[in-house]
Symmetry: C2
Subunit: 226 residues, 2 copies
DNA sequence: ACCTGAACACCGTTCAAGT
DNA sequence: ACCTGAACACCGTTCAAGT
């Protein structure tokens, strides 16, 4: 293609089959939710759309650009709640919403682990989070650092501590803990049930987030006292 | 070194070329550190070892099992510091060590994002962390939940907030922030420099961890007061 | 007991051609 | 302007054979 476009941006013709970069990205996103990252190939996606494989390359330079579009689409669809109430409540609502969304699209989270995303759409959640932190009284550097921690924690729970843990994973964890020699792992032997319980569930994220918010509150309190 | 192995564990013959599951895993780990996850193929790894591709299948059932062995090797090599000082200092040292190790092997972190690891070697860090939390006064459920948060935060910083951020990434982030319309993103416009600064650096993890530890301390304080 | 090349069923992508 | 099959350079892995 000789006509150059903004890097990474997909062209948007409307094709013979009613095809369209957005429709391709939507189908890919749906496919990822249903079958996971490893299952998504250009050939299978084309088949899903009822077109030839190479048709996709009329809309995206390569697979990477298509995956970028899927991630960008998720960012664009994330609803940012209107800022209401005190800073802590605003962060709570904002990050619970983000976590809920990430938890429903694990493949997209894995994609984002290897491709930082800095589009305007992706920045909306950052704008809202930073606003709440600034209003709480943190300066720019403190707020930016706190936001990194809040954001990272939310992603990590989406990746490592799924809201709905498969019963089989829970069973496996129980077995693995039971197999540990109790003399070398006395604490885990004693807390095995609690460890298994903490392996998944939405309340785990909730609890982690509250800890972080408590830490932020403590900073504000210390400042007021000092 | 354990003698009994559970299902899915590699056989350990010593081959003609001085080959050995451990040596293959070590070479794979090194290859990952140098070239990244996408570059590692069975063919290239075999070539690196100076053997035929199919030789690897004498030591591992498939590529997945080989990758499991790489992750397991990293877990085994992690040094757990001896418990010294108050609970907070113990968690600090333990998790800084973990973070430092993860940050040096980003490919292994990405691997762990898709394969939960519950081997005895991997549990050593959990045992140490849970011991510190129990000693601090948390009950089993509180400690397990706090450990999830601490562990997740540490992994997330290793994935999303690299200790040494490439200058190019920083430049890209600066440009992306500068391109945002200031009327829609007033807070990010005002804090752009701080946002860029917070994108990487070991002090970011440090700060996030301290926030979480502050949150835990606040819980203990509240209990003492109540 | 250990190692291996050939072959198979896949990939992503280039190219030249079809409408 | 849009779409596509054939072909190429890769994959992981099965199989049958080599030492």
């Amino acid at each position: 293609m000789t006509t150059t476009r903004q890097a990474g941006t997909a062209r948007r013709p409307r094709g013979r089959h009613g095809l369209d970069a957005e429709r391709i990205a939507a189908t890919a996103a749906d496919f990822l939710d249903r079958h996971g990252l490893e299952a998504l190939t250009m050939r299978r996606l084309a088949e899903e759309l009822g077109v030839g494989t190479m048709t996709l390359y009329g809309y995206f330079r390569d697979k990477d650009e298509l995956l970028d579009a899927v991630v960008e689409r998720h960012a664009r669809r994330l609803r940012i709640p209107a800022p209401e109430g005190p800073w802590r409540e605003r962060l709570r609502v904002l990050l619970h919403g983000l976590h809920h969304d990430l938890a429903r699209h694990p493949s997209a989270v894995h994609l984002r682990a290897s491709r930082p995303i800095m589009s305007p759409a992706a920045m909306r959640v950052g704008e809202a989070g930073m606003r709440a932190l600034r209003d709480a009284g943190f300066d720019a550097a403190e707020a930016a650092s706190a936001w990194r921690a809040l954001f990272n924690l939310t992603f990590a729970f989406a990746v490592f501590t799924p809201s709905t843990l498969p019963a089989e994973a829970r069973r496996g964890a129980r077995a693995a803990l039971a197999a540990l020699p109790a003399d070398e792992y006395p604490t885990l032997a004693e807390t095995a049930q609690a460890m298994v319980d903490a392996l998944g569930g939405a309340e785990q994220f909730e609890n982690g987030l509250e800890l972080l918010l408590d830490g932020l509150q403590a900073r504000l309190d210390a400042r007021g006292a000092g």
